[in-house]
Each structure stands twice: as structure tokens, then as C-alpha cells.
């Protein structure tokens, strides 16, 4: 089929790249077109090459990151862009910011902003909990002697509160212990009046091999059982009123 035009597949492939770019002259383009229409092997190549070129031309130039130029200059000449070409037409305020901003660029990032906000939040929370009000702070309060006095005052105030609380709790526990003792004393005659049970054979004591010097665990359990509320509630209710005798030690004799 190619004898007619004397234009072979090799010629076609040699011109394919330029043909896809519409860069062929009139004469070679004519031969090329005739061959592309006649050759079943070259026709799809022509279509694909043209389509591939068109697709590739749709790609835009990728924009580099904004910091790339600065990084390159720092890695090569060691000078930042602002240092290499210092702006001359800026006001003193503009120059100040121009000088200040580059070192702060690394700090002005979301993670740093997040850290700063968390630190501010924590500080304000601590101040609020500790009762410190910023508006009440005067310059005189920041003197070392004043700071020391306030710290000492806070320390004694806090310790006095703690001691008071401890004393209150101690009084409550003492009263509770007294009441329990009185209740035990009141229930004791009832227990003694019950018929005597046949004497049980004493159980053989387990061999005391505890050499640790600590009390037996059974003993501890008995002590704890005496104070169980359930155990106290199971005692029969007294029908007669309780009689207490308050013995006050006579300190004058002592």
C-alpha cells in the first residue's frame, strides 16, 4: 500500500513527533496525512500521539512552595532574600517589621499558636482557682518582701484551716467511739442472762508458727466484726431505759 506514495512507516514515525505538534511543512504533511489514512498500523499511533500531546499541554506549571526560594538561598549563599536585596523604599515602621518578621516565621505556625493558647489557658485557670485577680495586683505587690509575706501568710492560713478541719474530725470520731462503747455496755447484761450452753470442747489451737511478731489475722477480724453495723443491729432491743453513770475524775485530788 505504501508503494503509491513512497512514504513508509519509518518515515511516518520519523515525522510523528513534529506532526503531533503541527510543526510539519506542507509537503511532508501531505504525505504524512495520506499514510496515516491508509496504514492501519500507523493510524492509531497518529491519534494517540496527538491525544497524548494535547493531554500533556493541559498540565499547568506547578507552583513551588513560597519558602523554597528562601530555603535555597539560605542553603547556598547563607543570606535570606530580605538581606540580599534590602528594600530601600520602606518607612521606618516597614523596615522594623521587615527586620522582625523573618525570625518569627518559624514561630508563626499553627502548632506554636496552639501551644501558646494552651499555656495561656492553663495559666489563667491556675490564677482563677488560686483566687488571684490580675486587676487587684499593684506594683507594690510585686516587691520581693511583699511576695514573701503573702506566701507566708497563705501558708499559715492554709495550715490553720487544715488543723481546724483535723480537730473537728477528731471530735467527731471521739464522740462516735464513746457512743459505741456505751451501746456495748448496755447490751452486755442481756447476753449474760442467756442460758449457759454446754461447755464446748476447746478446739486445739493451731500451731503458732507465726514468728513475725505481728498479731494474728483472726484477731484483727474479730475486732473489726465487733464494730460492724449489721452486728450491732442484730441485738435485741432494750425495753428498759439505759442508765449511765458519768464518772468524772476529780482532778483536785490529783
Amino acid at each position: 500500500m505504501n508503494e503509491k506514495t513512497q512514504f513508509g512507516c519509518a518515515d511516518f514515525e520519523a515525522l510523528l513527533a513534529e506532526a503531533a505538534e503541527d510543526a510539519l511543512g506542507a509537503e511532508p504533511w501531505k504525505d504524512f496525512k495520506v499514510h496515516a489514512g491508509a496504514c492501519s498500523r500507523c493510524a492509531p499511533l497518529w491519534e494517540e500521539a496527538r491525544a497524548g500531546r494535547t493531554w500533556l499541554r493541559t498540565l499547568e506549571v506547578a507552583a513551588p512552595p513560597t519558602h523554597l526560594l528562601r530555603n535555597i538561598l539560605l542553603a547556598t549563599s547563607g543570606l535570606a532574600p530580605s538581606e540580599a536585596q534590602a528594600p530601600q523604599d520602606l518607612t521606618w515602621k516597614g523596615r522594623f517589621w521587615h527586620w522582625l518578621l523573618p525570625p518569627l516565621e518559624s514561630v508563626w505556625q499553627p502548632r506554636f499558636a496552639m501551644s501558646f493558647s494552651m499555656a495561656f489557658f492553663s495559666l489563667s485557670l491556675i490564677l482563677q482557682v488560686s483566687g488571684v485577680k490580675i486587676e487587684n495586683i499593684r506594683l507594690a505587690d510585686l516587691r520581693p518582701s511583699t511576695l514573701r509575706q503573702s506566701v507566708v501568710k497563705e501558708y499559715y492560713s492554709a495550715s490553720a484551716r487544715f488543723v481546724k478541719y483535723y480537730e473537728n474530725m477528731r471530735l467527731v470520731y471521739e464522740l462516735q467511739t464513746r457512743v459505741e462503747k456505751l451501746r456495748d455496755a448496755a447490751t452486755q447484761p442481756q447476753v449474760l442472762s442467756e442460758p449457759a450452753k454446754p461447755a464446748e470442747q476447746p478446739k486445739p489451737k493451731p500451731q503458732d508458727d507465726n514468728t513475725s511478731g505481728q498479731p494474728d489475722t483472726n484477731q484483727n477480724q474479730k475486732y473489726s466484726q465487733e464494730r460492724l453495723p449489721a452486728h450491732l443491729a442484730s441485738h435485741p432491743r432494750e425495753t428498759r431505759p439505759l442508765e449511765f453513770t458519768l464518772v468524772v475524775p476529780d482532778r483536785s485530788k490529783a
Partner: protein, 199 residues
């Protein structure tokens, strides 16, 4: 900055240690170098690192550049290409290349490539579709073998002429044209497969 004399003056200033001239040179060319690296590697991070590496190497070897042996752009592109090849050999990440002989599935009803291009070229307000289409082209470009990829990047994206490309790639012009042809056809086939799978 295509004027050879202006380039020569700028290069002389750079070789003399003029920081401002060097900054001008970098600001003029870093976009193009980044684009080549990005289209070749497919990764913005790799492209950023490689662009920086190109200019570091250029800064060190700028005194060895001889204007009589070739244009500065060709010298710079050669430097970039060598680094890209080194990077490719190190990473070996893109060896999954679609074969040229892979026969596309016969589908007589499927629209032709040019029909797809014409569809895509219609004036629509679908900016998202256009962006997705570009993304598909970019991904299809990564499927090409490195030889074909660098050839089509330099020709179709960077508009370098065949002679310059032949000098950069150190191959004859006929080989450059053959690689460009194969690169374009393989890209078109890869995109055709992508659209066929998507439809």
C-alpha cells in the same frame, strides 16, 4: 531573561560572589526546575528537596560552567536531569510501567481519545472536573518509564527543542523523537484505560 548577554552578565556576577545576582538567578529559574522535578517525581516534597539540591550543586559548580559549550538553560537542565536519575535509581519507586504492548480492551462503543478531549474542552463551569483531569494526566505521567517521562516533560512541558533535549539526555535526536512518540502514545493509552475503568 532569555537574552544570552544578560544571562552571561548575571552569571559573571554570580561567579564573582554577588549575592544579589545569585538571588536573581535562583528566583528566575527555581520555578522551572521545581516543575521539572515535580512532574518527574510526582511528589511535591521530593520536588522541593531535589530543587534545593539542584541549586546547591549549581552554586558549587557554577565556576565550571562554560558558555561556549552550551546554553546555561541546557547546562542547568542537564544538572537537574542527572539528579533526577540519581534520585530515581535510589528510590526505585516507579518501576511499575505499563507496557507498550498492552493491548487495550476492544470496545467499539467507547468514545475515541479525541472525542474525550473535545468533551473535556467544552466550555463548562466544572473546574473540579478540569482539575481531576489534570490530576489523571499527572498520575498517568508517573506510569511512564523514566526515559519516556523525561523526554515528554522536556518537550511538551518545558518546550525545549529536540537538539537541546538530545544534549541533555545524551542521545541522538532520532532517539529523542522516538521516546517522545512512545511517551505520548503510552500516556494516551494509560489515560484511555483510566477513563474506561472510571466509566
Amino acid at each position: 531573561m532569555d537574552d544570552p548577554q544578560a544571562v552571561a552578565v548575571l552569571l559573571r556576577r554570580c561567579q564573582a560572589g554577588d549575592a544579589a545576582a545569585w538571588e536573581k538567578l535562583v528566583s528566575l529559574h527555581h520555578r522551572r526546575i521545581y516543575n521539572i522535578c515535580y512532574r518527574f517525581t510526582g511528589s511535591p516534597h521530593d520536588a522541593e528537596d531535589l530543587t534545593q539540591e539542584v541549586f546547591i550543586r549549581m552554586y558549587r559548580t557554577l565556576s565550571s560552567y562554560d558558555a561556549e559549550r552550551g546554553a546555561f538553560q541546557t547546562w542547568m537542565t542537564t544538572l537537574t536531569r542527572n539528579l533526577l536519575v540519581d534520585h530515581f535509581r535510589k528510590s526505585r519507586q516507579d518501576r511499575m510501567t505499563d507496557s507498550l504492548d498492552a493491548a487495550p480492551a476492544a470496545d467499539p462503543d467507547a468514545p475515541s481519545l479525541l472525542d474525550r478531549l473535545e468533551d473535556r474542552g467544552r466550555p463548562t463551569d466544572h473546574g473540579v472536573e478540569a482539575r481531576e483531569a489534570r490530576e489523571k494526566v499527572h498520575l498517568a505521567l508517573q506510569k511512564l518509564s523514566p526515559d519516556l517521562r523525561e523526554a515528554v516533560i522536556l518537550r511538551d512541558l518545558e518546550d525545549m527543542d529536540y537538539r537541546e533535549i538530545a544534549r541533555v539526555l545524551k542521545v541522538p535526536e532520532g532517539t529523542v523523537k522516538s521516546r517522545i512518540n512512545r511517551g505520548r502514545t503510552e500516556l494516551a493509552r494509560a489515560l484511555q484505560r483510566t477513563y474506561r475503568q472510571g466509566s
